[in-house]
Structure formats: structure tokens, C-alpha cells
Symmetry: D2
Subunit: 302 residues, 4 copies
């Protein structure tokens, strides 16, 4: 009966957990978990294999890799290098098998709002090579990246007046990248996941993701190119926090009472709010660096 009030999560892992709580097995969804004790990294791969599985999970068919590492928010440079390598490995796996010649990295989100600045910051730290390879050829790159890497920070609708999708489609039409990698800040359901989880998926970035309102999905259907989505949960919806706190209390109420109660509690104004940790500046700065390093490494290996 949970879920009459719509709890939002951008993490497939959390969507899955909601069912586990209730001991439900979801047909069409396969899950593999792995734990690297040395590095204290949990990796979960959720594969949504059927249309039915997609419907139940509320997420498109595809592969969702989640890397969880409690130390991700700690400023240990060597450890972050490990995470970058782990990430690079998963990105390479999700890339199309045939030769990738060019990649466009899209930094979604609002540079001006700290927890939403992840995507823009990742693009800032990338090794951009497309213009160099186009002008001088791959030879000048030596042992370095051979892929033509381009990057864009489209901004959010309040800044541009345009849908992010419109801008990205326009840029793709002109520059025809083989693959698009979209990086975004996500909303998690649980504060425990904030800033210590990276999700990598071959389904792109889909509606309602992130802190702001990046409306339509960036996926193979809308962009006519393979789209890999990389996300880090940096916020929880304010409504979710309240909902979670009340969950047990609500158990004592009848369904109808509960619904009325929630409608009253979760005010529209609360939907315009997000919850984020006080040290979000540090963690976003560090994680964006970890992710751009992961991409830089992946592009050398392709």
C-alpha cells in the first residue's frame, strides 16, 4: 500500500529495495551484487529485461550499475582514484561494442545551485579533444585519448528559456557524436545514499531527474544516439523526508485517513524544496572530479 503517495527516486537500486522490503520478487528484473572488501565498494547491477519489469520498477529497460562506497565523501585522493578506475570500467562495458569515434558529454543541472552543479563541474574537468583531433589528427594525441571528446553545459530552463532536450538535440544534429554521456545530480529516497553513490546506466537520463526540472528524457529515442547516464544522488525531496518520518505513524491510520493526511502534509510548497547536507560543496566538488577522471580514463581505453 505504500506508493499511494508517489515517492521519487532516481536510483534503480532504491526502486528495487522498495519491493524487497515487502519480499516481492519482480519478474523481468535481474539483480547481481558484489562487494570489494579491500576498497569497501559495493556494486549492484540491476537489469530490467522486460517491459513488465520496466513498468513495475518505473524505469526504462536497460542496465543500471550502482557503485556505493561510504568513503566517497572523504577527501582521500588515492581512494578517489580507485573509484575513478572502477567507474571507467563500467563505462567502457556499457559503451557500444563497435568502435566509438566521438563522444559528447553533457553536464546537466544548474551550476549556480551547489548540489545541482555536479554535471557542469564534470564537464569543466574533462580532457576535451574533438577540436584538436579535427585540426591536427589523432597522431598528435600520442598515447592519450583517441576519441573525439566534446562537452556541453546546456544550463537549466530558467536560465535559457529552452528545454535542455532542444539544446542537446540541436548540438547533436550539428556534431553527430557516436555516443552521448549525460551526467546529472539525482534525487535519492534516502539521505544515507547522498554523495556516496554513483549510478551508471545505458538508458540515459529520464524525466524528473536531478534537482531542477530537466523535463524530457535524454535517451536513445529522443537523441538518436546511444546515451549513457551517470548520476550521483545529492538531494532528497523534502516531501520524501517528511513521508519517511511519518511512515510508521501512518501505519495506525486507515487508508482513507492516511491519504487525506498526506495530501495535507505534503504541501505543494514542499515539492519546490530539496534537502541536502551542509557540506554539499565539498562533496560535489570532489565527486565531480572523481567522475571526470573516470571519464578521462575510460576515453583512453576505448
Amino acid at each position: 500500500m505504500l506508493g499511494t503517495y508517489k515517492i521519487r527516486t532516481d536510483l534503480a537500486l532504491e526502486a528495487k529495495e522498495r519491493f524487497e522490503e515487502r519480499d516481492v520478487e519482480i519478474r523481468g528484473v535481474v539483480v547481481h551484487e558484489q562487494y570489494n572488501q579491500d576498497k569497501d565498494i559495493h556494486t549492484t547491477v540491476v537489469k530490467i529485461e522486460t517491459e513488465n519489469g520496466a513498468k513495475t520498477m518505473g524505469k526504462p529497460q536497460g542496465t543500471y550499475v550502482t557503485i556505493e562506497a561510504p568513503n566517497m565523501s572523504v577527501p582521500d585522493e588515492d581512494y578517489h582514484r580507485e573509484i575513478s578506475k572502477e567507474l571507467a570500467g563500467h563505462i567502457v562495458q556499457l559503451l557500444p561494442k563497435k568502435k566509438v569515434e566521438s563522444v559528447l558529454v553533457v553536464g546537466l543541472g544548474n551550476r549556480q545551485v551547489t548540489p545541482d552543479a555536479l554535471g557542469p563541474r564534470v564537464v569543466e574537468n574533462l580532457h576535451i579533444t574533438r577540436h584538436i583531433i579535427r585540426e591536427y589528427g589523432k597522431e598528435v594525441m600520442e598515447d592519450d585519448t583517441q576519441v573525439m571528446v566534446s562537452g556541453i553545459v546546456p544550463g537549466v530552463m530558467a536560465q535559457t528559456g529552452m528545454e535542455t532536450l532542444e539544446i542537446i538535440q540541436g548540438v547533436i544534429n550539428e556534431t553527430k557524436p557516436d555516443v552521448v554521456i549525460a551526467v546529472d545530480a539525482l534525487a535519492a529516497r534516502s539521505t544515507k545514499r547522498l554523495n556516496r553513490t554513483i549510478q551508471i546506466t545505458n538508458t540515459g537520463i529520464n524525466p524528473g531527474s536531478g534537482v531542477g526540472n530537466h523535463r524530457q528524457g535524454l535517451n536513445e529515442e529522443t537523441l538518436q544516439a546511444k546515451v549513457i547516464g551517470i548520476g550521483v544522488p545529492t538531494v532528497v525531496d523534502a516531501a520524501t523526508i517528511v513521508y519517511d518520518a511519518m511512515e510508521h505513524l501512518l501505519d495506525v491510520l486507515e487508508e482513507q485517513e492516511r491519504k487525506e493526511f498526506l495530501d495535507e502534509m505534503i504541501t505543494p510548497s514542499l515539492n519546490q524544496m530539496f534537502v541536502t547536507p551542509k557540506d554539499v560543496d565539498d562533496t560535489v566538488k570532489r565527486l565531480s572530479f572523481t567522475i571526470s577522471e573516470g571519464l578521462n580514463i575510460a576515453f583512453q581505453e576505448v
Copy 2:
């Protein structure tokens, strides 16, 4: 019996309201309200006149002026000019009666965390005059500001390793301003107050204010100078949101149950979180400009 769980607010106005809800009159606290219909500005002056009043309110003795204007978050430049003028009037009133020759404006908070960037942004937009007047005399200022205005953005402890108070005390010892004006982002109790309320007080800025952890108070006692505090609530504590939502539910519980319940609900991690609106970048940018204009106007009138 509310208040066994400590709800935090930096607004004297909200401290007062908590008592009104319970029809309690507080001795030693005088309140005047005023409404300007033309400009749709509510002004409330709370004077805490006795030690007893201070204890009950949980705020130091002094005058707390609150300007509330729903349109403060709207990008109407003419309207913001009105707010700036209103603000300037109150600042001039709270300044010491004897001639003020020099003012240090302190921009508290973390420039890197959007809702905490208010103070730093205000200082960025000020007309700084101290160095000019010291070098060329007041004559060069013509009809402009005659007060020596200096400004500093001390940063937060995670960035500097020092207490904000240590830095400010050091700067004051060297430069001896007559008055300190400290600008900070505040925590409100209610999301309705966010980004549409300005509090001006002659008691300075006191413990626990703001988004981050600016530990000790900036007040006449610690700084050996008159201190005016200007604050705008830009966040609500995450714990407060939860508390408020649960308040009515809690009514059905016994006191002991309630206490246990809250202890469990309001987890320590929640205390490291804040709630803020998604468009906080726009409103902080606009309000910081409104406040610095208010200060610029006030300094011309002194």
C-alpha cells in the same frame, strides 16, 4: 509542551509567534506591527527589553525589525529598490546616534553553498570607500558616501580552519571600525518565510545562525563595537520540516512516547541537512543585491 524538541529559528518574529499560538503574553517583550498596503510590506518590530524577555524568547535583549514582502522573490527591479530604501531607513535608525565615521561589513557564510552565499554576495556589491577616503580624503567623494566602508568575507571554518570570530576580531583590532554590520543567511522555522523576509537587529548575529556552523556570536560583547545583524532566512532545518509535519500526529501520543519517537525520528544525519527551495540561486542573487543597495543608501544618509 511543544519545544521539548528544540526547534531552531533565527527569526525573533517566529520565536514570538510560537508563544502567540498558545495565547501567552511574554513579559519584557514589546511588539509593533505595521503594514504598508501600497508596497505590500509588513514590518514587525520586536523589542526584547528585559533579561526575562530574553530568556523566554531565547534571543538577546535588543531590537529586531522584520520586513516581510511576498514580492521580494519576484524579479521586479523597481520593487526591490523600494525594499532597499525601507531597509536603509531601519539601518540608519539602529545605528548609534553619535557620528559614525567607519563601518565594517562582514559577509558571513559559505560562498560555495548557494543558500549560504547571501553574506558574501552582499559584500561583493557594496561601495567600498575606506581606502579611497584614507588616501584622498572625503572631499573626493562629492555627494557620495562619506563613511569609510570596509568589507570582509571571512569564509567558514571548513575553509579556513579558524573561527569566524577569530578572524573578525583580528581585523577589527587592526582597523577599529565604529560599527560592524554582519550579514548572514538564516534558518527559519517555516518554509513560507524563506527568501521573502529580512531581519535587522542591533544585537548582532548569534550562535547557530545561518546555514553553516558560525559558532560564536558576533555582538558588542565579543567585538567591542556596535554590531548590527542583517539576515534573510534561506533555509529551514531538515529536522524542523519533519517535526512540523508530525506535530498534529504527535498530539495523540503521551509525552514520554512523543519524546522517544522524536529522538528516533530526528536522526543526527538529519541535523546535518537543510531544506531550501529549488530556485534559491535566483532569490539569493536578487536579495543580496537588494541588501547591498540598502546598505549603500544607508551609508549616504549617515
Copy 3:
């Protein structure tokens, strides 16, 4: 015989002056000057009316309005409002006569290099309306802007790996604005013009403009839309400074000697350098605000 070494200027006004120095009248080029004593604003309108005039001037046919005001670099808010109005008037004049329904403002340049941040900063301060009008209709805008205003900061090639032109063309194809307004930092020939001159032209922005390397022109031909260019000179090429200083000395040399000398002096590394004033942060911040206000006013009058 000047001009064997190519001196670069983005200002039509300066291109014209080079001929005046030598008492040459240029066929196909009409110049009108005007001086507003009250506001101390010089306005020069240079019309390049023939292909021949264009060739001689080294600039495309069209109208180039230059506003010069020595006080532009002074922080007087009322004065800047006057400049904004003056600017708005010229923009409205250069807009197509038929109804303009939608405008895309492009902020060219590199947000990370102070004198090149003008364009990005202008877009930051614009009233963006396209998404609001598309969702709610013009009615909600009341007496405010009725034009659908969108804005984009494409970044520079080193950041994106893409030509600015590719990005803009893509965005225009998707969003079909009636008019494009491109704002850019320019290179002047003389340090005296820096940060106190605004050029408005209906020819767009053309090769070699700005601090960085925004390669191909943004004009009606490349963008399939009317393009208005707005520019402020914020830098002088380092090579120009040297050239100017040596000009008189060079007079004593034979042409061949002079050429050899210049080839040696103006080293390639000098071409990778620019000259800019030490207070460029203040003036760029202020002027970008003045220009965005000018645009905001213009869009209300269309």
C-alpha cells in the same frame, strides 16, 4: 603604408579613424556623429553601404553604432541606467521592422577569463521569458516583456571541443528564433577605448572577434536569422600595444627594414597574449549589467 602589419580592431569606429588620420575619404561609408552634452555620450553611426566600402574597412556591409562614454567605467548606477536606455533605443532601431516574436541572446566568450566574461555575464542577468510564455501564454506577462527571450552561453572551443557556430546553429534549428543577439568582448586598437565603448551592429559578430578564438562569424548568412552584434572592447592585442609604441620610431626606417623589424618584434607568442586593465573585473561586471538592462528594456518596447 600603415597596415602592412595587420593591426586588429573589432570596432568599425577605429577602422574608420585609421583612414581619417591620413585624410582619406572612403567611398561607400557614411558617418554620423552626435554628442549629448548632458550625459557626456558620444554616438557615432558608421554605415558601410557598398561592397567597396566593406572591402576598404575590412568589415561587412551594415550599420555600426558606437556609444562612447568616459563615465561608463564609473560605478554610478543612475548613469548606467541612462546608458542602458540609450543602448535599448539603438537595439530597437536595428531590429527588423516586422513584428519580432522571439529572440535568442548568445553570450559569447569564456566565463573563466575576466575580460572575456562579458557575454556570459549579460545572459546571466537577462529576463528569460520563452519558457514562461510557451507554457502560460503572453497574458501572464502583464505589462512586461512580450517577446519570447531565450539565452545561451555556448562556451569556447577549448571547453567544448566544438565550434561556437556549430552549437548556435544547432540551437537555432531547434528553437527558430526570429532574431539572434550576440554579445561579445571585443579587441580594440587603443587602450583608451577599453571598457567605455559599446558597439551595436546589424552585421552580427565576425571572425577574430573577442579575446578567445570564436572562429566563424555569427551572421545572417551562417545563422539564417537576423543577427545583431553587441560588443564592448575589453582587451587590446599585445602586439598592437607594441606596434603603436613603435610607430613613430618606425617612420625613420625604410619599408623593407620596417617589415623585417616587425616580423621579428611581433613574435608568435605575443599573438597569444592580450592586454587588459587591472580593474577589468569591476568594469566587466558593471558593463554586463548595463547591457543586460539595455536588452531587458529593449524587449519591453518591441
Copy 4:
């Protein structure tokens, strides 16, 4: 006869070279050079040992280490790690021999002017530990930094109205660090040195250094603490560029003519200008990271 026009350089290395050009040996100045072929790093140690040497060099007595590496401006992370280690070694050498318990790192310059942002950016990337060690003791730092590191970005006079020295003195009086490390952007004489040279000195930072106007010296005399200065030349004075270009031409003139000529050429406005490379954003970002890593390493070794 050179030097009648005062050419400014903040690099002891360049001050020395001026004499070498004229085959002059300077008494009281000892120079050691070293070249690491593997890493392509030139290291020059200039020791000014007598008052006479100081006068001739125009720099205070002390040790000036210069690291030159052409690849410093290249985005090769491994190479930058090497530079960081090299730098760390020199810093440790220049630190007082007795136990250093606390260090204050001062990031001089203007965060808003790209080539002057080096100092502020270095502080942004430091591991700040003072507040942690003061609260929890050294035990919590494990194998990490045991020194109490604090940091401050005082801003420039146009932003604060105060002398940088006033602010630093104030902060030092309150927090009593054993050593101050001041990081600043420097002016070089030659464009060839820009962004590929680091100077480390135990004399602090002295008048006229940097892009802006940081007036009085930060040294043991003014701060009552050991001061290490770390600087990277990121600009050349505009006047210097012109002077250098004209130098040979001037040889043909009589001394008096030459002087008159220079007075005319090097206009005051030119003194308000600086020359910097177009890609200064990239190199300052990278070098500030290299330097903060160097400091982080040094603080672990103390």
C-alpha cells in the same frame, strides 16, 4: 644604462639575469643551478647574502628557489604530481628547523581576475586541519597531516577597503601561527616565463608583487612570524612588453632622447594594464592545484 626606466620583475632569477647580460658579477649573491633531465626541470637557487647584494638585486636578503619546467602548462596529471613533490621538498627545506606546529596559508590576489586568482585558488584546494586538530586532537589525523593548517583569502583593497597587511596582521594576532606561507601571482619580465615557473622564497612577498596592488610586504618584520612566499608569474606589465620591443631601436638614440621618448611612450594608462596569455584560465587552474598539492605533501612531511 638600462634600468633608467624601471622594469619590474618579481623573480629574483630575472633580476639576476639582467646583470648577467652585462657580464657583471654581483657581490653578496650566490647562484646554484641544477637540471633534472628526466623531468625536464631547471632549478635555480639564488642566495642574497649581504645588504649590498640586496641593494643591487632590489630584493631582500634570503633564499630564492626557482623551478622552471616548460611542461608545467601542459595538462599531464602525472607530471604535475612530480612538480608538486619537487615543490614540497623546497618548502620543507625553507621551513624553520625547529618543530612547526601551525601554518597559515594566505592566498593573495583577486579571485575575480583570472591571472590574479592563483593565491585564492591554492587555498581552496588545501587540506585545512587546524579546526579538526583543535577539536579532536592529532590522533584523529592518523598518518595524515599533523600540522595545524589554516588558510585565508584576504581579497584586494578595492574589495575590502583595507590593506592586505592589516587583515593578515589581525588574523595572525588572534591565531598565532608558527609560519605564514603566502601564495601570489607574480609579474615576470619575460612572457617566456609565464605559467611555467614557480618561485619559493623565505623572504615573504614584497611590495609591488602580483597583478593588483598588494601594497606592503608580508615578511618576518611586518608579520612577526617566518614567512615563505610562493609565486608564479602569470602576467607581464604592459609597459615592459613595449620597453622590450623597443630596446634595440633605442640603442641608436642619445640618452636624453631615449629618456624623453620612454616618458612619452610608457603612458600612465599603460601602467594600469597587464599582459597575459589567452589560455590563462587553464594554466592558473592547473598550477594552483599543483601548488596546493605541493603544500599538502609538505605538511605531511613536517
